[in-house]
Each structure stands twice: as structure tokens, then as C-alpha cells.
Symmetry: C2
Subunit: 141 residues, 2 copies
């Protein structure tokens, strides 16, 4: 059975995180629109606009050793026409981010036009709950 | 002459920042979709989903005294069908944020379904440039 548009968008979103996790710059490049004004807002970077600058930022990030594994959690899709928004949490090893990903249907393929990720604050454990949770919290802020 | 769809979206985006700047909770409420699954990702908050929780977050923020003036700068729109994305910088008095705002056309009115804002890092001044710029930088990180 043919996949629904929503399933196709979720597959594109999963492919984005797979390229990210495996530091696959060629796969990342193929995911991004070549016909639209693209942008990316990485945490702790200035906003980046234009395909060349966006791809340079991915080269810097994927060639670094900052990320080993990043998985989308709780992805939610809104679709209309040839545009789709996905919001999800990003689970890294010791950090949680939250992201907005925008895709456009380009000739039957959903391609990314925008990604914004923000680091989430640590969840403060409830002091009335059992001890030992503090050790599970990520370090740093 | 009738406004283009893009102009209507930019007007909705400007109305969002006007409601924010004037701490007008009723105007903020009217801007948000009542028929879609809405979400908001404020800086240093957990991700918030669902209209009731989104509006409670705005009540907290607008009833606080954190923000006096917030202006969108360099807004860029991508539109398709009944969905529109606006990306822009947000100039506050001493801080710059960057935001992704998603609107849906609901019966001829563009209503917000999602907002994500991230604080931008300070721009490090070029030490080869003239002195005195340091005093213009915002404090804190």
C-alpha cells in the first residue's frame, strides 16, 4: 500500500536524524531543498541562511565529534499543500533538544527547508520522589 | 488593492510580536489556532503542546515583567497551501533571539500553530575594529 503523505514526511524526518547520527554529509546534502531559500538555526550559532552556508554548517558539525547518536522522539506532523512541519524532541546521549523541521514536497520528494533546535533545560527531579534520580540527570547546562 | 497572502502572513507575524510587546493576552489568545494541535517551544522551557498549556505559558510570560519590547527583524516567509512559515530575528532590548513561527489559514485568517524561539549567542566583536563596542554588548549569556 502506498505510504500516506504524513508517513512520507516522517520518513524524511527520520532520514534527517539518520544522516545526522551517522555523520553522513552526502545524505544530509541530498535531504535539503535545492530550489528554496533554506535556513538552519543550530543551538548556540547565529542564524544561518542560504544553501551554501547551511551545508557548510553541517560539514562543520558532522565532521566534528560532538554527536554520536540523535533520535527523534514524539514526532508530530502538520501538513498542508506542499509544506509540512514536524516537531519532535531529539534525544542525544546526555542532552535533550527540541526541534522544528520544515519540509517541502519537491517533485514527489520531501526535502528540508528549515531546521531549528533548542537545548531543553534539565528536568528538575521532584524532591518528594525516591532518591537516586539525580545521578541520571545530564551534566552541565 | 487586496493584500497578498505573504503580506497577510507578515501582518499576522507582526500582530504576534505586537501582542507580545504589549503583554496583551487577549490578543495573543485570538492569534492562536483553535482547531489545530498547537505547540510552543519557549527558550529555557520544556516543550509545550496543546492549546490550554500553550495559553497558560503565555499568561505566565505576559503577566511577568520579563519583556518590554520585542520586534521581528528580517522576516522571511515560505507559503504553501494553507500553511506558512516565518523565520525572523527577535530584537529585545538587550538580547537577540531567533524564531520559527508557523501559521495556518483558518477560514481566511492566518492563525499561529507553532512558535519556537532560541536565544542567539552574543556576537563577539572583531578586536581589530574600533574600541568601545564592548559596552554595547548585552550582558549575560
Amino acid at each position: 500500500m502506498a505510504r500516506s503523505e504524513k508517513e512520507q514526511v516522517l520518513a524524511a524526518n527520520a532520514a534527517f536524524y539518520a544522516a545526522f547520527s551517522t555523520s553522513n554529509l552526502a545524505a544530509m546534502d541530498a535531504l535539503w531543498s535545492t530550489s528554496r531559500d533554506v535556513a538552519v538555526f543550530h543551538p548556540n550559532w547565529q542564524g544561518i541562511k542560504g544553501r551554501d552556508a547551511v551545508m557548510r554548517s553541517w560539514a562543520t558539525i558532522l565532521n566534528g565529534n560532538e554527536v554520536t547518536d540523535i533520535r527523534p522522539v514524539g514526532a508530530r506532523v502538520i501538513l498542508s499543500g506542499k509544506m509540512a512541519m514536524v516537531i519532535c524532541e531529539e534525544d542525544l546521549v546526555a542532552v535533550r533538544m527540541i526541534a522544528t523541521n520544515i519540509f517541502m514536497d519537491e517533485g514527489g520528494t520531501w526535502r528540508m527547508v528549515h531546521h531549528q533546535a533548542t537545548r531543553l533545560p534539565e528536568v528538575v527531579p521532584d524532591p518528594t520522589e525516591s532518591k537516586g534520580r539525580k545521578g541520571q540527570r545530564s551534566s552541565g547546562t
